[in-house]
């Protein structure tokens, strides 16, 4: 019964919360409309038949988000310094990273993390060979970059999604 009306309970909950935050109120009318929106859009989403995500560890997901936020702040200042000082010796380049992660949702989150962090950008991913190519603005050591991505982001994502 619950599955019938809430095929994507987490998505429906998120949509309802977004509606409440948008309206900045907990009035009965807003609450009711939020719940209706959550259920309605959740059902509409089912028509698209997206592959289901299985989040295994919410605590780890929260910790990962905090870590990413910290990394975003730090690399913001690092990239700002690079632009202001314009170091001529700065070397940029592509790095190929062999991935263990194959879950589509995990890869999507990894793409968001890498591209949101200034200084690194997701370039391409080959699902057959499971090789990810990123572009790094200030590339010092290829192996260090590979280890950083694998240790800091891929490992927690493997635990969360796979």
């Amino acid at each position: 019964m619950i599955r019938r009306w809430l095929p994507y309970p987490l998505l429906s909950l998120l949509l309802a919360v977004i509606w409440l935050v948008l309206n900045q109120s907990l009035a009965v009318g807003t609450l009711l409309l939020g719940v209706l929106l959550g259920i309605g859009l959740g059902l509409a989403y089912r028509v698209l038949e997206p592959p289901k995500a299985h989040i295994r560890n919410f605590l780890l997901l929260g910790r990962l988000l905090l870590r990413v936020l910290g990394d975003i702040v730090r690399s913001n200042f690092a990239v700002a310094r690079l632009i202001v000082h314009r170091d001529r010796r700065m070397h940029s380049g592509f790095v190929a990273i062999p991935l263990t992660l194959t879950d589509r949702h995990g890869l999507a989150v990894l793409a968001g993390i890498i591209t949101s962090t200034p200084g690194t950008i997701w370039v391409s991913h080959d699902p057959d060979l499971s090789i990810l190519v990123i572009h790094v603005l200030d590339l010092v050591d290829d192996q260090a970059e590979i280890d950083a991505i694998k240790q800091r982001y891929e490992r927690p994502l493997l635990e969360i999604f796979q």
Binding site: I18, S92, S116, W122
Partner: protein, 117 residues
């Protein structure tokens, strides 16, 4: 500007610092478009404005209006959430387009496609 007079000094200072920081980051990011050398370097620069630059502006807005109205107002957070979800998609599309063009042109700088030796 009259209603902003109600803002206590500590909040005014905090809001100013956050706004200046956010604006500076967005400005440096835009300057990066001019100063960096090639497309793949330049595409890194606007992320300053879409990440910490925006977060600082949103924090300033949240602080300002929460203090003025005397209750927490935080619907600005949604701007940050939506921007964080959508900005990377635009950047990745731009990079992939550039990569496709450079590969077609036979550039040595970009990595070769694994399927076409």
């Amino acid at each position: 500007m009259s209603h902003l007079d109600a803002l206590p000094p500590w909040a005014a200072i905090l809001v100013t610092v956050l706004m200046l920081l956010g604006a500076s980051l967005a400005c440096i990011g835009s300057a990066g478009l001019l100063r960096l050398k090639d497309f793949y370097q330049r595409v890194h620069a606007p992320t300053l404005g879409t990440t910490l630059g925006t977060y600082c502006m949103l924090a300033a807005s949240i602080t300002c209006f929460s203090v003025l109205h005397g209750r927490p107002i935080f619907n600005e957070i949604l701007i940050g959430v939506f921007l964080t979800l959508t900005a990377p998609i635009t950047l990745m599309l731009l990079v992939r387009t550039a990569l496709h063009r450079d590969r077609e042109a036979g550039s040595d700088y970009v990595p070769k496609s694994p399927h076409k030796p």
